[in-house]
C-alpha cells in the first residue's frame, strides 16, 4: 500500500491541456475581438465624420447658390457665386456636377442629375457617370408679382478625397488596433503568469516536502485554489491515516503469526523427544523444518513489508555501524555455534553513519543469515566494516558462492539460487538487503571470491 505513493507522483502524468495556454488564449482572443471592434468603430466613426464634413460643405455650397438666386421682373436669375464651387476644391480634385431646375425644367447644368429634394433638403449617395457621388438637393420658392416658382438645385461631388482620407484613417485605425492587440497579448502573458504564480508556488512547496510530511497545507492560497487545496489536504489526511493503520497491521500480523508458530514448534520438539519410532521421528523433523521455513518466510515477508514502509519514510539517525554489527553478532552467535560457524568482525573501530538502524540491522542480519546457511561447518563468516571512501559493509562466507549465470537476478523478490534447494528460505533475503541499500541511496554488489566463497558488499 505505502509502496505506491511515489509511483503515483511520477513525471508521466497524463496532460489534457494547459491552464496557462487556455487562459492566455482566452485573453488573446478577447483582445483580438476587441482590436477588431476598435478598428471598425474607429473606421465607422471616421466615415461618419468625413461624410458629415463633405455633406456640410455641399450643403453650404448649395445654400450659397440658392442665396444668390433672385427674381427680377418675374424672371429668376441664378448667379452662381464663384465661392460656391471654389469651396468644393479637394486634395483629390473631386469632380463636381450640378443642375439648376425651375419647377422641374432644367435651367442649366448637368441634366443627368435628378432633383430629389421634394421635401426640402435631401442628401444622398448616388451613382453618376460611373462614379459614386454625394449629392445634395435643395430648393427655394420665389414669389413673383403673379406667380410663385420654385428653384431646385442639385449639387453632386465625387468622393475620391473622402476615400483617400478613409484609406489613411483605416490604415491608422489598423495600426492602433494592431498596437492594441500586441499590447494586449503582452499583458495577457503577464496576467497569465501572475495568475499562475500561486499554483506554481503550491506545486513547488508540495514537491519540496519531506517523504513523511503528510500534514495539511496551511499557507493562505487564492480563493479559487482553496477547494483544490482542501481536497489535497483531505487526501493527505486519509493517506496518513491508512499508512499508520498499515503500520499497525504489520506489527499486529508479525506478532500474530510468529507467536503461534513458535508454540507449534516447541510442541513439535517436545513430541520429537517422546517419539521412538524412527519413521515418526523423521515425520516430526520434517514438520519442524516446515515450521521453521514458514516462520522464517513469515518473518522475512513482514520484514520486507516493514522495510518497504520504512524505506518510504526513511528516518535517519546518527549511529555507529560497528556497534550495530557487534550487537547483531552477539545475538546471532548462538545460532552460529549450533552450526559450528564463527562470526568475525573486521575493519575500522568506528563507522559513523546516519541511517535507519532497524533497516540496516535487518539487512545485515539477512546477509549473515544467508552466509550461515551456505557456509560449510567449521568455517568463518567475516564481516568487514570500512568508512574509507564510502561506508561499506561486506559479508563473506566460504560456501559454494553464487551460481554465475544468476548473479544478476538474485536480488529480485522470491528468487532463490539454484543451489538453495534443501535449505530454508523465501528468496526475500537479498531483496530486502537491496531495498535497504537503495533507501539509503546506496547499492549492493554480489561477487564470488577467487579463493571460494561469496561476498556481498553494501555500499552506502
Amino acid at each position: 500500500m505505502a509502496s505506491g505513493i511515489d509511483s503515483i507522483m511520477v513525471d508521466s502524468q497524463a496532460i489534457s491541456s494547459s491552464l496557462r495556454a487556455r487562459l492566455a488564449l482566452t485573453l488573446i482572443s478577447g483582445a483580438a475581438v476587441l482590436a477588431l471592434l476598435l478598428y471598425f468603430a474607429v473606421r465607422n466613426y471616421a466615415v461618419q465624420v468625413a461624410q458629415e464634413g463633405q455633406d456640410s460643405i455641399l450643403t453650404a455650397s448649395v445654400t450659397s447658390i440658392l442665396d444668390a438666386a433672385s427674381i427680377r421682373n418675374d424672371v429668376v436669375e441664378v448667379d452662381i457665386p464663384y465661392a460656391a464651387f471654389s469651396m468644393l476644391s479637394t486634395p483629390a480634385d473631386d469632380r463636381v456636377f450640378y443642375a439648376i431646375y425651375q419647377d422641374g425644367a432644367l435651367l442649366s447644368g448637368y441634366q443627368d442629375l435628378e432633383f430629389y429634394g421634394e421635401t426640402g433638403k435631401a442628401i444622398q449617395s448616388n451613382l453618376l457617370r460611373g462614379a459614386t457621388v454625394r449629392q445634395v438637393s435643395a430648393s427655394r420658392i420665389f414669389i413673383g408679382t403673379d406667380r410663385r416658382t420654385e428653384i431646385q438645385i442639385v449639387l453632386a461631388q465625387t468622393q475620391d478625397a473622402m476615400a483617400e482620407t478613409l484609406d489613411r484613417i483605416s490604415r491608422n485605425a489598423a495600426l492602433i488596433g494592431g498596437g492594441f492587440f500586441v499590447l494586449a497579448v503582452a499583458l495577457s502573458f503577464w496576467a497569465t503568469s501572475v495568475a499562475m504564480g500561486p499554483l506554481n508556488k503550491l506545486t513547488s512547496s508540495i514537491t519540496r516536502r519531506g517523504p513523511q510530511d503528510l500534514s495539511p497545507f496551511k499557507k493562505p492560497v487564492p480563493q479559487e485554489m482553496a477547494p483544490l487545496v482542501n481536497s489535497l489536504n483531505s487526501l493527505m489526511g486519509r493517506l496518513d491515516h491508512s499508512l499508520s493503520q498499515s503500520e499497525d497491521f504489520i506489527a499486529e500480523a508479525a506478532h500474530r503469526v510468529r507467536t503461534p508458530l513458535a508454540t507449534v514448534r516447541s510442541y513439535a520438539e517436545a513430541t520429537l523427544q517422546r517419539v521412538d519410532k524412527e519413521e515418526n521421528r523423521e515425520a516430526m523433523r520434517s514438520m519442524i523444518r516446515a515450521i521453521d521455513e514458514s516462520s522464517r518466510a513469515a518473518g522475512q515477508l513482514l520484514d520486507h513489508a516493514m522495510i518497504t514502509f520504512r524505506a518510504d519514510h526513511l528516518e535517519r539517525q546518527e549511529i555507529d555501524l560497528v556497534d550495530l554489527v557487534q550487537d547483531l553478532v552477539l545475538r546471532m552467535n548462538p545460532i552460529a555455534d549450533m552450526k559450528d560457524l564463527s562470526l568475525v568482525v573486521h575493519g575500522d573501530p568506528v563507522v559513523a553513519y546516519a541511517g535507519d538502524p532497524i533497516l540496516l540491522q535487518n539487512a545485515i542480519r539477512n546477509l549473515i543469515d544467508n552466509a550461515m546457511r551456505y557456509g560449510p561447518p567449521d568455517s568463518t563468516i567475516e564481516i568487514t566494516l570500512t568508512a574509507a571512501l564510502k561506508v561499506q559493509i561486506s559479508v563473506r562466507d566460504h560456501g559454494p558462492g553464487f551460481p554465475d549465470p544468476e548473479i544478476k537476478t538474485l536480488t529480485t523478490r522470491f528468487q532463490r539460487g539454484k543451489n538453495a534447494e534443501g535449505s530454508i528460505g523465501s528468496g526475500l533475503g537479498l531483496t530486502i538487503v537491496q531495498d535497504v541499500a537503495a533507501a539509503h541511496g546506496g547499492e549492493i554488489e554480489l561477487a564470488n571470491l577467487s579463493e571460494g566463497g561469496a561476498c556481498v558488499t553494501i555500499s552506502l
Partner: protein
Amino acid sequence: MRYYFALILIVLGHATLAQEWEDRRSFNEAAEGRPLRIISSTDTDLFAQIIETFVAQNPTVSIEYLVTGTTAVDKRMRARPAAFDIAISSAMDLQLKLVNDGFALPLKGVSHPPWAQWRHSLYAFTSEPAAIVVNRSAFADLPIPQSRQELIEALRARPGVFRGKVGTYDVRASGLGYLFATQDARASETFWRLMEVMGALDARLYCCSGEMIDDLTNGKIVMAYNVLSSYAAARVESQDALEIIYPSDFPTTMMRTAFVSKDTQAPDIAGNFMRHLIALQSSSADGKPSLPALKLRETGIGRATIALEPALMTFLDSLKRARFLSEWEDALIQN
C-alpha cells in the same frame, strides 16, 4: 441678334463638317501607323519644337498637329473624343470642365505639383500672364500706363487718339478671352470700367491674340488689352515700337493645359508625349523654349495664377455666362 447667333451656328456647323483648321501639320510622316492626333489652340510655330524633340526621340511615332480656337477645341472634343489623342488649350475653364465631365484619361506616374494638375488628368505646362500691349507712338511723351487704372485715365484723357484704335478679345468667340475677362471681373470692378471706356472708344474685338498683335504691328490699333504675353513677346523683339505691360494692380496668369482623351487609341504614346511635354516645360535649364515654362508659384514676380479648381466651371454655367455676356455687351458694344 437671333440672326447673328444663327450665322454663328451655321459657320460653326460648316466648320465642323469640313473639319477646317487654322493650321494642320504632320510631323515624322514617314512613320507607319495611325498618327498621334493633337488638337490644340496653340500656334504650330510655338509648339513645333516640343513635337520635333519628341519624334526625334520616338522615330516610330508620327504626330498630326491640329490647331483651332479654344472654343472649338472644347466643342470638337465633346463631339468626337475618339478622334483626338491629346487636347491642348489655353482655356483652363473649358479644359477643366472637359476633365470634370469625364473626357480625360488619368495618367500614372507623372509627378507634377498639385496646383499644376487636376485629377492626374489635366496638366498645366506653361505660365502665361495676360498683358496690355501698347504702341509707344501713341504715348509719345506721356508716361506709359502701368495699371488698368492708369490705362483708363490715359484712354479717357485722349479719346481722339484711341477711338477705334483699341482692341481686346471678343469673349463670345474666344474661350481664353472669356477666361481672362471673367477672372478680371472677379478680381475688380476696374475691369468693367475699362470695358465701358473701351466700349466708348469703339473697341475692336478679336478672336485671337495673334490677330491683335498683327493689328498692333501694322498700326490698326495702338493698345490691346489681355493679350497673351507669350505671343506678344515673340513679336515685340522685332518691333521696338511695341511695349508689353503686365498690369501692376492685379495680374492674371493663365496656364496652358493638356490632357489625354479617354478614348485615345494610343494611351501609351499619348502618355509618353505628355511626360515629354511636362518634363520639357518644367525644366528651367532649357535654353530657349518657344513656349514659356511653367513657373513655380512662389518664385518670380508673384503674378496670380488662375487656379485649377472646380470654381473655373462657375462662369461656364449657361445662366452665368449669358448674364456675363450681356453685361459685357452692354459695356463694350454701345452703338
